[in-house]
Symmetry: C2
Subunit: 451 residues, 2 copies
């Protein structure tokens, strides 16, 4: 018989004494409270795996009364985050407060005080990672951030450790759960973006202010971190191209499906002869591709290594306990390597700092891509010829994949192009806008085969 | 401009001197040669990540001439594996020779000599892991085996480190590429098992003697290792239930597809109130499940943690360089932690050895499952009533999901049962065999929802 209480007690009895890892929490919101909860519930189980107790010593929060209801009286509560950053009896600070201003100075202060840092803050690392990682190296402390990308999925560990033998060719993924939930709703219910967004907000999958998610900024933060780990270079966040999903219409998802594709918001980081491409945008993905099977608020990241081939990592992209799972994994790594030489630790960005180098990020204007184009016209027979002639004139070899007559008698012409320079696509869009029989704006969405 | 040679040279110049990790290879077959090749090709890249050079000092092979053509003269070649196991100038032995007899004594000898061990040998660890891991702990050395399960996928690292915060509820996966390739062929081409096996052998996806793969033994080796890491217990290999795919027919894959399922060979390890279930068998999986999307020779493992929820790991399940990718990841972990205290390393089976415990593996005869049943009968109208009456008498609430008349006028009746005790299913099969209008043997395949 397996009975958890027995199991726990037997594990407790046989634990040797080990100095606990003393933890300070900045923030007790969804992430902080989840971390507390999982550490409490699985305390003995985690100890049985890590061999070192975890002890939350102090928690900084805005609402002391609410926090007291969660953590009780065993823990020092303060509404002054500097008390945690400077706390003499804390080994590691978990930054779960969000934001990039106060969080930045608090993290730098904790590092300066010789404390290790675990953060879930992708915006902070995408915008100030270079400064923070440099400070950590100078001070000989760890900055861990597994929860910053695709929370429950150990993708940072996979990139830095599991795939260490590989030259990474590309990383691509569905790394914003809100957008994927909205796209899945649009796909399954045939509803528009606005309705799907309302649905997502009602069901707690989207913030009241959803712009960070639906405009691709959150995904851009994450892909810049993945790219840095994949290619051993700091990515200036300003050079990451970000497009969101607000411009997508239900018909585009339907037309794509009829051609054997699904539309997903992808983060893509790839290395080519002229440098790196780091971009976030909606894309058509073949329906039999693993990424096309990722539904709802789930996340998945695919990595192509020269030795491993393609591997994929899938799981929850948000949520209190999935995030806590990653935070605690980082805490256990800190507990194991806190007393090791830095050469015995995994570097912050996968590569030894002296081997990091500046790789150029190529502007989106000089990239190439295949495209899905949806053009509207009146019902005149010459419309289609005019469209094809225009595309051809701009160097886009294309054929019509679908013709869809609309309730207002206008026609949607759907085209898939071969891979073309971004400039040629822009020129074609400008030319199409001048066609007299045109109705509405041309919809252009990238097509990614990810092979 | 990004030019690899520049990049390499710049990284070399800036490398500080570090004592190389001295490696001995047992075997230079697919795995050994792939490891050599990737270490050579990505030498500077791996150094830029790990900070410590890798040096293959000696290689033991049967065919010295062939080996010399691969590794040249820079490496000591021997046809005596004991020379590698006992080599005074080797820090870590990579066992890539296979088999469980000579490999076992060589690995134990290397451990006894204070050498770390990296092995790809799932059979060795499934059958002799307890002895090997105990010897390693007593001697304070590492035994790493990422390549032993779903080679290119860092699933052992994910289970032991990435999901360390979680109580694992179940692990399930497609962990035999040969069987999945054969099932994909049967599905896509509508051909039988024998034809698909020939195809797999012709294309190098199956051994001349495919029994280890198609009988589920290889998958059983792997699921026993996954179960041990998930639940912190040694799994006596004799207690792992293994069924293969040789008994499957193309019609079953077709009927399943028509009901919204694919048939996959799954390894499943799950913990329940009465103990662990560790089993390998074909199963129907809902077609929209991520595991149903795993085609050809690819592998995928899904893990359900109490905090993380379900996560999935996908990649190549075999191949020279995908295996090398995992072997080298283990070598880098050894390079980083060789000089650490054992408390600073990840335990061999995820849990501190004093916290490991014997959990009972429940016999397959006392498990419960839902089932797909295909029963053949003559065309008589009372056949279906007799079948349903028989099932009901044995406690199987079931309804006919499909009726398929065969060229010989006989009829296939297809049923999905609810979850029933294994004994009830066995009784039903015995009773069905007695029906006078029966034609052929009843096909019974488990149904797994993996939610």
């Amino acid at each position: 018989m397996l009975q958890v209480p027995q199991e726990e007690s037997s594990r407790v009895r046989r634990q040797p004494a080990a100095a606990p890892l003393r933890i300070g929490l900045l923030g007790l919101g969804t992430v902080g409270a989840g971390t507390w909860q999982v550490l409490e519930r699985n305390r003995q189980h985690i100890l049985a795996r890590s061999g070192r107790p975890m002890q939350i010593v102090a928690v900084a929060v805005r609402d002391l009364a609410r926090a007291a209801r969660i953590v009780g009286s065993a823990v020092q509560l303060t509404d002054d985050p500097w008390e945690v950053a400077n706390h003499p009896a804390i080994d590691v600070v978990v930054e779960a407060m969000g934001g990039t201003t106060l969080a930045r100075v608090l993290v730098l202060q904790a590092i300066n005080q010789g404390k290790h840092v675990v953060t879930t803050n992708k915006a902070l690392l995408a915008e100030h990672g270079a400064e923070i990682f440099a400070a950590a190296e100078a001070r000989g402390v760890i900055v861990a951030y597994e929860a910053a990308v695709a929370v429950s999925i150990p993708i940072i560990k996979a990139l830095r450790e599991g795939l260490v033998a590989n030259r990474i060719e590309w990383v691509a993924g569905i790394i914003n759960g809100t957008s994927n939930f909205i796209l899945s709703e649009m796909q399954d219910k045939g509803i528009g973006f606005a309705a799907a967004l309302q649905d997502a907000q009602a069901r707690g999958f989207a913030e009241a202010d959803p712009r960070l998610d639906v405009d691709g900024i959150d995904a851009a933060h994450k892909i810049s971190l993945l790219a840095a780990n994949a290619f051993g270079t700091a990515i200036p966040f300003g050079q990451v191209h970000a497009e969101g999903i607000a411009g997508l219409e239900a018909v585009d998802l339907q037309y794509a499906e009829q051609m054997g594709y699904r539309i997903k918001l992808l983060g893509v980081a790839t290395r080519g002869g002229s440098g790196l491409e780091v971009r976030v945008h909606p894309a058509l993905v073949p329906v039999d591709h693993m990424l096309a099977a990722v539904q709802g608020s789930m996340n998945a990241v695919m990595v192509k290594g020269d030795a491993s081939g393609t591997t994929l990592y899938y799981g929850a992209g948000a949520g209190s306990e999935p995030t806590a799972s990653a935070v605690i994994a980082d805490l256990v790594d800190v507990a194991r390597t806190a007393d090791c030489a830095s050469t015995q630790r995994v570097p912050c960005l996968a590569f030894q700092s002296h081997a990091m180098r500046a790789l150029p990020v190529v502007p989106i204007a000089v990239t190439t891509s295949a495209w899905y184009l949806r053009m509207g016209s009146d019902a005149s027979p010459q419309a289609e010829r005019a469209i094809l002639r225009t595309l051809l004139r701009c160097g886009l070899q294309a054929r019509i994949h679908g013709r869809y007559t609309q309730p207002d008698r206008s026609v949607h012409h759907v085209v898939l192009t071969q891979t073309v320079p971004h400039a040629a696509l822009q020129q074609a869009l400008a030319q199409l806008a001048l066609l007299p029989m045109r109705t509405g704006k041309t919809q252009a969405i990238r097509l990614e085969r990810l092979e």
